[in-house]
Each structure stands twice: as structure tokens, then as C-alpha cells.
């Protein structure tokens, strides 16, 4: 099944760029014969460029020219231009880009209302064209940040649009949330306005924050430079690394962090692309992890962060991988799922791991985790035979857990601080289509969401009374 990706805004495109690079690296490692197969087709079209320009799609046989199934959208040209001049330039053609020059000024209203309106037709047309090339479109991915103007505003506009145009196709959103010390003053406004859209129109959201990514990068840095591991670490196995991809120039500061997100997206789709003894497709993730429509925020964690060069992995190390997935150090957002309430949990394992390893670890970890009363065995599992580059095995854990609540509460608090003083509101309100009620509705939507999590948390330590069963007349 095929997915279409939308990288919106500066952050979205920078992450997107790393994603395409690492995707090519992964497929090159697996697909030695250069045949265009089903796995590749979930991310790339195979285009016959011999006749120059945009030839017809080739569905089988050798790889000719791979084109990413994506739209790159930015209201500034800097990042997209860099991509087009870099080693990935052949992966995109001009029809996949929507750019402007002046940016959105960190203003959600500019992104959503102004540019949304302006570019709607353009986006719809390009979306339809790109979708036409997909023989079985299953999923849309949006990658963006919440704190700015384009990613946040135009990104959520695209989300709405996707629901209108293709209501049956799943919408997964990877959102980078601003941290407390974000240097964009209006980021709370942008984020809360965007949250309303995510609440109402996304099927699944994977929230990420820079602080967590930064901590993971630091941790890896520490481990590899401390001399304890030194040269025994496989460089290309670092979840932050670009080794082996097309990047030959000096790595930019955010690359390591963005690689983590790129790896998240690769692992998420691995079981849909590659074979395994227990497949887990994207529509299964949404089905199993979203028990109520609005509770669709999934906390993700990736392990291991790096691999040592020794090939023989005793099961103790394997078990460590499972334990790490539940530790707060490995979460991609500042959250502690272990001490909050699990609503549902998914484990996607890659590599040489069998069902008994999976079961042993679930049994081992279960007692220390709190699951909601009606989902005591709420585990969704997948086994994919193909490990990521540089690893013999890996684990992606997705948790629908009330531990996201603090993030949302903090966001609301920061929003209220500004809103009470009406700080910077005029920048938003003078945009056509923007009214005070937009703000009121947005914060109300967020409050309702927080309340839903509160209600679940309230059940956490309560007594468990099972509902009485149906009685049958004998």
C-alpha cells in the first residue's frame, strides 16, 4: 500500500529531507538487485526518464528513476531550494513543490487562512495528480512543526483539505511541538490553533519535541565519545546518523535530531513494506491504538539508539531493548508513560526476534505498567523480518497513554498567559477569516481533550468491577 507525504514548512521539510535520504539508504541495503518492488513503491514512483522529463510510470522491472511520492510545501524558498540543489534533487520534480517567498511570519493565521486560501487550488490539483499515480493509496503523512506559521497553519490547512478530498485515506501527522523556552513568542498561539485541527481531522498524531530529540542526541554523543564503546559502535547504526546516505557534506546541527524522526517514520512503515511472521500495517495502527476518536496522540520511542559491532546478541541484550522502550529517556516527547495510564500500546519489532521473545518481554514488563481497566491486555504486536540498516533488531513502541496530558496542559498555560494580556493578537485578527472566536474555540477544544485524559486518569487506581454479563434464559 502506498503513502503520500506532505512536508510543510521549514521543520517539516528538513525532517522530510532526512526521511527520503534514509529511506533510499534502507531500500538500497535490502534491494540489492535494483528491482522496483512493492516495498519501494510505497514511497517512490519509478519513472521512465529516458524520454526526458516526466515519462510514464514503470510498475515492474529495474529501477529507472525514483521519484518520492510527496509534496513539499513551504512559504519560504530557502529549505526547499537547498533540497533541490542537494543530492536529493532527482527525487523530486518541480510539480511536487509549492513555494512562496515571504514566509508566514510565525503566524498560524497567515499560514492557514491567507496562504491556505491562496494556494488551495494549486494544492488540490497537485494532490490529485500525485494521488493518480498511486494504485492503492492508503495513508497520508504530514510532517510539520506546531510552533511556527507555515508548518502549523498551512500544514493543518492541508490536513483539512485531505479529509475533504480523500475522506477514506488515513491521515497520520508527525508534529514537532515547541518547548517551553521556544524563541518564537507566538508559538503557544500557533500550537493551540493547530491542535484544534489535529483534534478534529487527524487519525493519528505522533507528537515530538526538540528537547527529547536533543537529549537523545546528547546521550549518544556521550556514549560514543566517552571511550567506553569507542570503535566498537557501528557508525551507521546510530539512530542519529546519516552514514551511508547521500549526504556527503558536513552535517548540519539539526540533522542528527531529524534523523531520529526519519527513523521513526521508517520503522512505523517497515512491517507494511517488508515481510514478517506477524505483519502490522498502518491501518492496523490506527484501528488498535485509537479507542475513541479524539484520543489519537501516540507517544513513540525507538530502541536501540546504536548497535555494537558484536553480532551475537544474547537475549539479555534483547530484553534490554524492550525495557529501554519504556524508559523516559527513549521517548520522543517529554513524557513518562510508565507512571501514567496506558490506554493501548503497540510494539513493532524488526529483525531476528521471534514471538517467544516478544511474549517473554510483555510478561516481564506488564506488571510494572498500568493499563486502563477495559484494556488490560491492550497490546498490539508486529514482527518484521527486515531490521534497520546497521542493526540486527530494533523496536518501535507506540503508546496511547495519559502521559501526554502534561504537555497539553503546559501548552494551554502558555497560551493563556499570552491570551489574557491579548498579546500579539492583532497580528492574527487582521487576517481575513480570523476572529476572536477562533481562539476561544481552539482553547476550548484543547480543554476538552485534557478533560478526556483526566477522566481516564481518574479510573487509574480505582477498584475494578467488571460489568455483569448477559443472562440467557435456559
Amino acid at each position: 500500500p502506498v503513502s503520500l507525504r506532505f512536508a510543510v514548512g521549514q521543520c517539516g521539510n528538513q525532517v522530510g529531507c532526512r526521511f527520503w535520504d534514509l529511506a533510499l539508504r534502507e531500500h538500497a541495503a535490502v534491494n540489492k538487485k535494483g528491482i522496483y518492488d512493492e516495498a519501494l513503491s510505497s514511497f517512490f514512483r519509478n519513472v521512465d526518464t529516458r524520454s526526458g522529463g516526466d515519462g510514464p510510470d514503470i510498475y515492474k522491472g529495474k529501477i529507472c528513476s525514483l521519484k518520492a511520492r510527496a509534496l513539499l510545501i513551504d512559504m519560504e524558498e530557502g529549505v526547499v531550494n537547498e533540497i533541490l540543489q542537494g543530492p536529493l534533487r532527482d527525487v523530486f520534480d518541480s510539480k511536487q513543490l509549492i513555494t512562496d517567498v515571504s514566509g508566514s511570519g510565525n503566524n498560524w493565521a497567515v499560514g492557514h487562512k491567507l496562504y491556505g486560501c491562496q494556494y488551495r487550488e494549486n494544492i488540490v490539483e497537485k494532490l490529485r495528480k500525485t494521488a493518480e499515480h498511486c494504485d492503492c493509496l492508503q495513508c497520508f503523512f504530514i510532517i510539520h512543526s506546531m510552533g511556527g506559521g507555515t508548518g502549523s497553519g498551512l500544514g493543518t490547512f492541508v490536513l483539512n483539505l485531505l479529509e475533504d478530498e480523500f475522506p477514506e485515506v488515513y491521515r497520520f501527522v508527525t508534529s514537532v511541538y515547541p518547548s517551553g523556552e521556544d524563541d518564537v513568542i507566538t508559538s503557544p498561539y500557533n500550537s493551540v490553533l493547530a491542535m484544534k485541527e489535529l483534534n478534529e481531522h487527524a487519525d493519528c498524531v505522533l507528537p515530538i519535541d526538540n528537547e527529547s530529540l536533543f537529549d537523545i542526541v546528547s546521550k549518544i554523543h556521550q556514549m560514543t565519545n566517552s571511550g567506553k564503546l569507542g570503535s566498537t559502535v557501528k557508525q551507521n547504526s546510530l539512530v542519529t546518523s546519516s552514514v551511508g546516505s547521500t549526504k556527503t557534506v558536513q552535517e548540519k546541527p539539526f540533522d542528527a535530531m531529524n534523523n531520529i524522526v526519519a527513523n521513526l517514520l521508517l520503522n512505523l512503515t517497515s512491517s507494511a513494506r517488508f515481510e514478517g511472521s506477524l505483519n502490522m500495517d498502518l491501518n492496523e495502527i490506527s484501528m488498535n491504538l485509537v479507542p475513541f476518536p479524539r484520543l489519537h496522540y501516540l507517544v513513540s520511542s525507538l530502541t536501540p539508539l546504536y548497535t555494537l559491532a558484536d553480532v551475537n546478541v544474547p537475549s539479555r541484550k534483547l530484553d534490554q531493548m524492550f525495557s529501554d522502550a519504556f524508559s523516559r529517556d527513549h521517548q520522543l516527547i517529554q513524557a513518562d508513560p510508565k507512571h501514567s495510564l496506558y490506554i493501548a500500546c503497540a510494539l513493532l519489532v524488526r529483525g531476528n526476534v521471534q514471538v517467544s521473545d516478544l511474549r517473554r518481554n510483555i510478561e516481564r514488563l506488564k506488571p510494572s505498567l498500568h493499563f486502563v481497566s477495559w484494556n488490560q491486555e491492550g497490546w498490539k504486536t508486529g514482527l518484521c523480518s527486515v531490521p534497520p540498516v546497521g542493526h540486527s533488531h530494533s523496536l518501535l513502541a507506540l503508546a496511547n497513554n495519559t502521559c501526554v496530558k502534561p504537555t497539553f496542559i503546559e501548552l494551554k498555560d502558555r497560551f493563556m498567559k499570552l491570551y489574557k494580556k491579548k498579546a500579539h493578537l492583532h497580528h492574527y485578527l487582521h487576517i481575513d477569516g480570523m476572529e476572536q472566536s477562533c481562539f476561544a474555540e481552539a482553547v476550548s477544544s484543547l480543554s476538552d481533550l485534557i478533560e478526556e485524559y483526566n477522566e481516564l486518569d481518574a479510573t487509574k487506581d480505582g477498584p475494578r468491577t467488571d460489568p455483569p454479563r448477559l443472562k440467557i434464559a435456559v
Binding site: 505483519n279 500495517d281 484501528m287 484494556n375
Partner: protein
């Protein structure tokens, strides 16, 4: 007579493949321990039952492969072809690209009607290639979306299109602690629907087979392949050719019909459990000898005490003492944990089967009072050893074996239903709360019926 196998979803296709492997390997094995003539008879009967000959020398499995995504079928087809021993018909499969998303409603209400014609065409073609159609064997898991939802729909279609054919559903129960979060919903919907169209449900529980792999087969890192191979062995031990009549001169040609006749006297009671003894790692076989009395003693106690395997049997459990005029519907008079049977079938394969004493299985205290003890118990035999086991005995039982597991699944599903969790995912595809309630009611009825035995 031939059986057409319908492999549904990832689980169904992975297991189906192992079943044909096991059956083929058994037929070509050199450990038959019987005369050449017997061996040839066996081989011919097996071939007719499961395979057909085509222009290619390799026998072709009588199977239809169905899945809503392509990876598993593609793998299954190629691995089978590489075996050199048998293969699938390249055209006898149907797949889509999207999968069912573990959503029973998607499998049943969307994929089912949409692809009914294409799938039933394939089934029709396979059925027509049988000189005589003995019935259908469908393999599916209850936990996911395709095997369970589409599987239930296809079973219904089979019943409509072949009203007089036997349909046996082989149903895999998922691990208790999650493979799929909504597995209990999917299970409840599957079982209630299958009950309406199927003749019998033959059940394997992943947890049980996993234990067998760990404790009896000594496998350290157990994979799904290991689990599936044990299941295939157990199925083969029942469905490979055998003599169903005492003093029969040729292998039974109607295994499904014989099975239904002996085990399913009443449509309210369709849940069949399977036990097989002995079970051990292949490299231990050469060093082990078995006696029929020993094997049967264990098998009988496994039946009475509802033991899942030959280790850890509770020898304390005994059948109730007859001779008291207490109606058998009084559950309080039954000893705790005693497993009441409606009907049982024992299949014996290997050395000296002709002289085996099965009297202990005919004990009326094992059974409900509706059938004569001689009707409640049947035995099939063959001197031809199965899969390198010098002696092997299998038990297919219509008893309270599955009562507790069924009750567990329904309980968990009900608990989740009370909170309305995930219901929106099903209503999106046309299965409403009312449909859930109907399914719950149907299964509570089945539970109640089995409890009162």
C-alpha cells in the same frame, strides 16, 4: 473424495502452507512401518484428498489462497514451489493491496461483498477439479481482520453456494495477552457468525501450542513457524487417511463427513478441541518407545481433566460415579474440573493399532446421557505410522474443552464493550452496537449450553 482448503489471511496462509508440507513429507517419508501395499494405498488416498495432478509432475494442492494484502501469499507461493515436493496453483489465489486493518467489519462488510465473486469463482474452479467434493476446510485466525471478518463472510458464501457440502472451520485463537488489541471483539463477531454457517469449528489456541513448543519440543526461541508446524502436525494426525470402520478394507473417502457424523450430533454444539500424543522433538524420537496402554491412559486423562498437553496432567480428576438417579443437567453434582463430553473421536496410527483396547474411552460416565455410549465414541485406525512417530494417538473432542477459553474471550470483549471503546472503528464500516449485542447473545447461549452438559 477431496477436500478444498481455503486459506484466509496471514495466519490461514501460513498455517495452510505448513499443513500441506506436513502431509507431503509424511507421505514421502520412509518411516511408514507398514507393507508397501499399505503405503501405496495411504499415499493414493492422501493424494486424492489434498492434491491434484497436473501436467507438471509435482502435485498441486487443492487450495484457494485469500488475503487482502500481497506479501504473505507471494511468500507462501514461492516457498511451496521451491520445496520441489508440491506446489500451489499459481492462479488459485486472490489478494488485494490494502489489508483489513484488523477490522472485522472491514473484512466482513466491505471486502466480503466487494470480492465475493472473484473469490467464489476460484473456489468453484477448485471444487470442479475434484472428482467428488468431500467438503471445505477453511483456515483462519479470529484475531485479525481478514481471516476473521472476510473468513466469516466467505464461510457464509460457501454455505449458500454448496448447501449440502461439509464445512469445517479451523480457527486459531490468539495469545491471551495481545497480538491485536481488538482481538476479543473480532473473535466474538467471528465465532457467532461461523456458528450459523459452519458444520463445526476445530480450534487451536496459540497459548497452548506455544507451551507445547516450549515444554515438549524444547524449542528455545519459538517462532510462529514453530507454532504452525505443531498445528500442522496435529491436523495431519487427524486428516491423513485412516480406516474409519472396524475391519474396513480401504481408507475412508469421506473424512469430513465421517468427522461431522461422529462428533456433531446437535447444531448447538460445534466446538471441537484437538489433542495429540506423543509430542516431542524429532531428534528424540529414535530414543523413545511407547506403549499403547500408556499413551491412551494419558490421552484419556487429558480428556477428563481438560489438560492441554501430556505434561502437567491433573490425575486427581475423575469422572462422576454413575448409578445415582441424578439428572445430568445438574452441574453441582459433577466433580470440579471434570470435562464432560458429548462425543469423542480417537485416531490411532502406527504399530499394533489393531490390538489396542479402547474400552476406557467408552465409559458412559465420560459422556452426557443423550447418546448411547457406543455412538458417543468412535475410533479411526491405520497401521501406517504418521510423521516418524512409531505410535501416535489423536483425540478430537466435542466436550467442555473450549468452555473456559470461550468464556474468557466473551468476558473480555464484554468488558471492553461496556466502555464502548473502539466501537466507532466498527460502525465506520457498517457493524453497529446491535450487531455486537446479537453476537454476544449468541455466544452466551453457546456457553450456557456447554456449561449445562
Amino acid at each position: 473424495m477431496s477436500i478444498v482448503t481455503v486459506q484466509l489471511g496471514q495466519c490461514g496462509n501460513q498455517i495452510g502452507h505448513e499443513v500441506f508440507n506436513a502431509v507431503c513429507a509424511d507421505v514421502h517419508g520412509t518411516h511408514g512401518l507398514c507393507s508397501k501395499k499399505e503405503n501405496e494405498s495411504y499415499r493414493d488416498a492422501c493424494k486424492e484428498r489434498f492434491f491434484r495432478e497436473e501436467e507438471s509432475e509435482v502435485p498441486v494442492a487443492r487450495a484457494v489462497l485469500v488475503d487482502m494484502e500481497p506479501k504473505v501469499i507471494s511468500q507462501t507461493l514461492s516457498i511451496a514451489a521451491r520445496s520441489g515436493c508440491w506446489k500451489y496453483d499459481d492462479r488459485s489465489h486472490f489478494c488485494q493491496k490494502q489489508g483489513s486493518g484488523n477490522n472485522w467489519a472491514n473484512g466482513y462488510s466491505v471486502h466480503g461483498p466487494r470480492h465475493k465473486e472473484a473469490i467464489m469463482n476460484l473456489v468453484q474452479k477448485e471444487a470442479e477439479k475434484c472428482d467428488r467434493l468431500g467438503g471445505f476446510f477453511t483456515i483462519m485466525s479470529m484475531a485479525g481482520g481478514t481471516g476473521s471478518g472476510l473468513g466469516a463472510f466467505v464461510t457464509q458464501c460457501l454455505r449458500d453456494a454448496f448447501p449440502t457440502s461439509f464445512i469445517l472451520n479451523h480457527v486459531i485463537w490468539p495469545y491471551g495477552t495481545g497480538e491485536v488489541i481488538v482481538q476479543n471483539y473480532n473473535s466474538v463477531l467471528t465465532l457467532s457468525h461461523l456458528y450459523q454457517s459452519s458444520d463445526a469449528l476445530l480450534v487451536h489456541e496459540n497459548d497452548v501450542i506455544h507451551k507445547i513448543c516450549a515444554q515438549l519440543m524444547n524449542i528455545k526461541q519459538i517462532s510462529f513457524r514453530d507454532v504452525n508446524q505443531v498445528i500442522a502436525h496435529q491436523l495431519g494426525s487427524v486428516f491423513q487417511p485412516s480406516y474409519t470402520a472396524e475391519g474396513g478394507s480401504c481408507y475412508s473417502r469421506n473424512p469430513l463427513g465421517d468427522l461431522m457424523e461422529t462428533l456433531v450430533p446437535h447444531p448447538e454444539f460445534k466446538m471441537l478441541g484437538l489433542r495429540n500424543i506423543p509430542q516431542m522433538p524429532e531428534n528424540s524420537l529414535a530414543y523413545s518407545t511407547f506403549s499403547w496402554p500408556g499413551l491412551l491412559k494419558h490421552l484419556r486423562q487429558m480428556l477428563i481433566a481438560n489438560a492441554k498437553m501430556e505434561e502437567g496432567i491433573d490425575w486427581q480428576v475423575q469422572p462422576p460415579r454413575l448409578g445415582f438417579s441424578i439428572p445430568s443437567s445438574h452441574p453441582t453434582n459433577k466433580p470440579l474440573h471434570f470435562n464432560t463430553s458429548i462425543a469423542n473421536l480417537v485416531v490411532l496410527r502406527g504399530k499394533d493399532t489393531h490390538s489396542v483396547d479402547l474400552g476406557s474411552f467408552r465409559d458412559p460416565s465420560l459422556y452426557t446421557s443423550w447418546l448411547n455410549p457406543q455412538d458417543a465414541f468412535n475410533a479411526w485406525k491405520t497401521p501406517r505410522a504418521f510423521n516418524k512417530y512409531e505410535k501416535s494417538a489423536s483425540l478430537v473432542s466435542n466436550s467442555q474443552f473450549l468452555l473456559k477459553p470461550l468464556d474468557n474471550v466473551v468476558g473480555k470483549a464484554w468488558n471492553m464493550f461496556a466502555s464502548k471503546a473502539y466501537i466507532h472503528q466498527y460502525t465506520k464500516f457498517g457493524i453497529e452496537e446491535e450487531d455486537f449485542l446479537d453476537s454476544f447473545t449468541a455466544l452466551e447461549q453457546v456457553i450456557s449450553s456447554y456449561t449445562l452438559l
